[in-house]
Symmetry: C2
């Protein structure tokens, strides 16, 4: 555990000179560089980032707080963030809030303690107070994937409302009228937006879905399974399902299989968020895919520009479009029904 002083002694210079060579800052001769580098190599010296961070009040570290790292959508987000951050010389710390406000608060507190330079946050339900906490501690934050009302922060997210609207439009064009919504958690903007898009498309078609057709749950496979079961046990039975995310869709497929119903012959199914090709043995699901990587990259660039003191004074909200990917699960046009 050699220190900068050990290196300085061995190279016959002052510690600050070593610091300059390491950081390529200020002036020094080639001869100085050579002797310092030789000493560093000989001692196997590794700089201490804690000390550096303490002194500089900057750690060159960002954090990404998200709600479910097991979801490939967020794995992709993580990659997008890391790519841009690394290019700019930043390290990224990843944290999993598990959709729990308490865990989120715990992590944000930790990240402030760790003196991260900035945070990318996928907020759980209703987090304005968590965001205020960051602001009180001078930690810039960019909100990712979800809208937060009155957030004093930049937001980068996708247009869930339009995505859901398109999916329902597709189903309507195929002849479906009884379309069930397997929704996400109330209080989470993406879930609310997808529900709103569903309702708008239905209303424009002059349809008022029975209340049993509109479910809300959590973004998990189990919840998708349970919501699908509930819908199937009620009357009227739907002819199509809209799943609010990929895990919900998978749970719905399970429930339909169990009930002896086939997709799309008996029930059409469309979902939100694609699964990556690496994971798809049988690409099958018609979805509104969100550009996870682009969203993450834009958010990271925005955060970095904030750290550099650039960008417009006003907070921005950037909204990216979703992409409709047609596969088998949405099925063929069905005969007129009602």
């Amino acid at each position: 555990m050699a220190t900068i002083r050990d290196v300085a002694k061995k190279a016959g210079v002052a510690p600050i000179t070593v610091s300059r060579v390491i950081n390529n800052s200020g002036y020094f001769s080639d001869a100085t560089r050579a002797s310092v580098e030789a000493a560093i190599a000989e001692l196997g010296y590794v700089p201490n980032r804690l000390a550096r961070g303490l002194r500089q009040k900057r750690t060159h570290t960002l954090a990404l707080v998200l709600t479910d790292i097991t979801n490939p959508f967020f794995t992709t987000v993580a990659r997008g963030v890391e790519d841009i951050a690394n290019e700019a010389g930043y390290t990224v710390t990843f944290c999993n809030s598990d959709e729990s406000l308490e865990k989120e608060q715990k992590y944000l507190d930790l990240l402030v303690q760790l003196q991260v330079d900035g945070i990318l946050l996928v907020p759980t339900a209703g987090t304005p107070e968590n965001i205020r906490f960051l602001q009180k501690n001078d930690t810039p934050v960019v909100i990712l994937d979800r809208h937060v009302a009155d957030a004093q922060a930049d937001i980068v997210r996708c247009d869930s409302e339009a995505g859901a609207y398109q999916l329902v439009q597709l189903l309507l064009e195929l002849g479906h009228r009884r379309i069930a919504m397997l929704g996400g958690p109330e209080g989470i903007s993406t879930a609310a937006d997808r529900l709103a898009g569903y309702r708008r498309a239905m209303a424009e078609a002059g349809l008022a879905p029975a209340s049993t057709l509109v479910q809300s749950g959590s973004f998990t496979q189990l919840s998708g399974y349970q919501m699908a079961k509930k819908v199937l046990s009620a009357t009227p039975q739907p002819t199509a399902f809209l799943a609010a995310n990929n895990f919900i869709a998978i749970g719905a497929v399970k429930a339909l299989q169990e009930s002896g119903l086939s997709v799309p012959d008996d029930i059409a199914l469309v979902g939100f968020d694609d699964l990556p090709p690496t994971l798809m043995m049988f690409p099958f699901l018609t979805v509104a895919a969100q550009p996870a990587c682009e969203m993450a990259q834009q958010a990271t660039k925005l955060l970095l520009s904030r750290l550099a003191g650039e960008g417009p004074a006003q907070y921005q909200e950037i909204i990216l479009p979703t992409e409709l990917i047609l596969r088998q699960s949405s099925g063929q046009p069905i005969p007129l029904s009602r």
Copy 2:
């Protein structure tokens, strides 16, 4: 950005007293605690971990370096590590080496700079020098998932050789003789072990597979696709495939579909590493599943015990068994062939 001194001033005590209250160390009266806590709340004081780490020479941080965070197997590993680490009051930093020795080196260097207390490492091919680097810098390491020859470190991994052996045995019992191996990268112990298990089972059955049946590639979907294509274009054609991991299996399914071959009717397929239920619309693949979470947890416990100065002086190698999960892809017994 209040400091411990600001708190001390407001509470009318010395900074060290504040430190004691925060860390619950040493003695202080209830009255002192109350006034300090009041001051902390009022100022919104958050301790600075850089300063604390610099002083204590411990950061209560572990790191997990793995090779592919997009693979659900490693996502599960990450969860296992985090669970145990958090319970013990440690934070975990995750790093992705992408199976690149250079990236691994870069991350290990960074982690030493960050003064992490210990590292869990899924090593890329041939990393004894990277491990020596950690030892030179007094950073305890536990190797995860893969064997490293002569590593001066504990190792926790699964029994890939036996897992592959079982899978091939299964195929042999079903009547297959021409079994192709879609292998992983040469130089990675899990890939080598799976190949060895394959060869042992084949040899015990008195079979010497044609060299075209034994492929090696990388642990990716693309590589699985390419290896499957190559095998299919050679003579003799196999009746069964063993894929060395989940991504390779998915690539093989794609190649088989393209060639108009159905699994398992035309070709049986077995693989390594399960996909989690959350991601499986159609559970289908017969696999040797590794206990990713248990492995990760054991490794983390071992690392923590090393940090506490406990455990046997000798380095340990813990090897966990795999579990054979039977599904459709391995198919029914086939008529005698050759």
